[in-house]
Amino acid sequence: MPGIDESLLQAMRLPGARGAAVVDWISGLALGAVGDAPGGDLEAAAAETAELARLATESGVLAPAGDDAGGASGKEPPVQDLIITNSDSYHLLRFVTTTFDSTVFLHLWLDRGEGNLALARIRLAEMADRLVLG
């Protein structure tokens, strides 16, 4: 059963992984991190990606159009992933669903040449589930 560190180390085994972190999108705190931090500053990277994640999850425009926004329990985040690409890397943010109050996402930073975005997205979603469900 993986804890935070084990989950992040698993994410780092994906092809092209440069860095991975678990970040609280309300406080902007990184609860755990491995590998390199984008921009070289973990705290700044966490705070900035958290702000982006917060705007996405609070956006009515980006939420599902159906009536079940928030899922049956009301605890599913309205947005599942954020994907940002640039000329040399991918940033993949995956919201973690918990029954208790947690407001966190996984952030995986991938090298563009070596990374496989589609595979990483599937794996990161599985890791987010296993992190809280075991």
Binding site: L31, T99, F100, D101, V132, L133
Partner: protein
């Protein structure tokens, strides 16, 4: 639990003393008026505050863990200070879920204990928390994060009265299209409850509730309530809502599910422990 050793009271700010204790690799419990910081080998392993829901509140009030499962773990492992491990070993909680909830509660309480940095009242060497080791955090990280959180709240809306006063809605303000967390926070603003009480009702961390409340204040939807003008003109404020249940220490299982005010009881407990 290890028998506490008496130490002299000190007027040193809690943050300064924590720095010293970290450098010494100390283990024990540091009390301030706002709560208790638990150290193991110079790292912060847990923090409790009367103003924040603790990990038991967060897990059981949210429905993530049945109260029976929680109390079973307390009964079986509370005395050995291994409740966290017990929750995982008994299959009630995944390791990652425990770590996320624990860190959430730790940094939440630390903000209230350290952001305003009152004097340290007492350090009890060797005193351990009943939750046991889950994830240890460097003292520096906790201090820096508490300061950062204070600045974050200030940037959202620079009115600290929101944090402690009973809160009221602004009449006739239009709360259309609020994000889910903000609208459910606003729904609990009733002119009586404080941020900490709203957090308890929602099984939500208090700092995270404060962020929503300061955003609501910035949007002109919520104001801190001014003290009642004259005695007799208004009814006394109602006690905290009855949703507040189980005091989450390794204390006896409560017989009544609706304690009047968990925060008050916990503050009393902290005051007694600080003696």
């Amino acid at each position: 639990m290890i028998t506490p050793t008496r130490t002299a009271r000190t007027d040193e700010p809690a943050s300064a003393l924590l720095g010293t204790l970290a450098a010494q690799g100390a283990s024990g419990a540091l009390s301030t008026e706002a709560g208790i910081v638990y150290l193991a080998a110079g790292h912060v392993v847990h923090v409790e505050s009367a103003l924040t829901p603790d990990i038991g509140d967060l897990l059981t009030h949210s429905g993530a863990l049945a109260p029976d499962g929680w109390w079973e773990a307390i009964d079986q492992a509370g005395r050995r200070c291994r409740v966290g491990r017990q929750l995982v070993d008994s299959g009630h909680l995944a390791v990652g879920a425990l770590e996320l909830c624990h860190l959430g509660a730790l940094f939440d309480a630390a903000y209230f204990v350290l952001a305003h940095d009152g004097p340290a009242l007492r350090f009890r060497p060797g005193a351990a928390h009943w939750l046991g080791a889950v994830r240890a955090v460097p003292v520096d990280t906790v201090l820096r994060e508490s300061r950062r959180r204070r600045e974050l709240l200030h940037r959202i809306w620079p009115e600290p009265a929101i944090d402690l006063a009973p809160l009221a809605r602004v009449p006739d303000a239009d709360p259309a299209d609020l994000p889910h967390r903000r609208s459910r926070t606003l729904a609990q603003v009733d002119g009586v409850r404080t941020a900490a009480q709203i957090a308890t009702v929602l099984a939500c961390r208090t700092f995270h509730t404060l962020v929503e409340l300061r955003r609501l204040a910035a949007a002109g939807l919520v104001v801190p309530k001014v003290p009642a003008p004259a005695p007799g003109s208004a009814p006394a404020p109602a006690p905290a809502p009855a949703h507040v249940s189980a005091e989450p220490g390794p204390a006896p299982r409560p017989t009544a599910p609706d304690e009047p005010d968990t925060a008050l009881l916990r503050r009393l407990l902290h005051a007694l422990e600080a003696l």
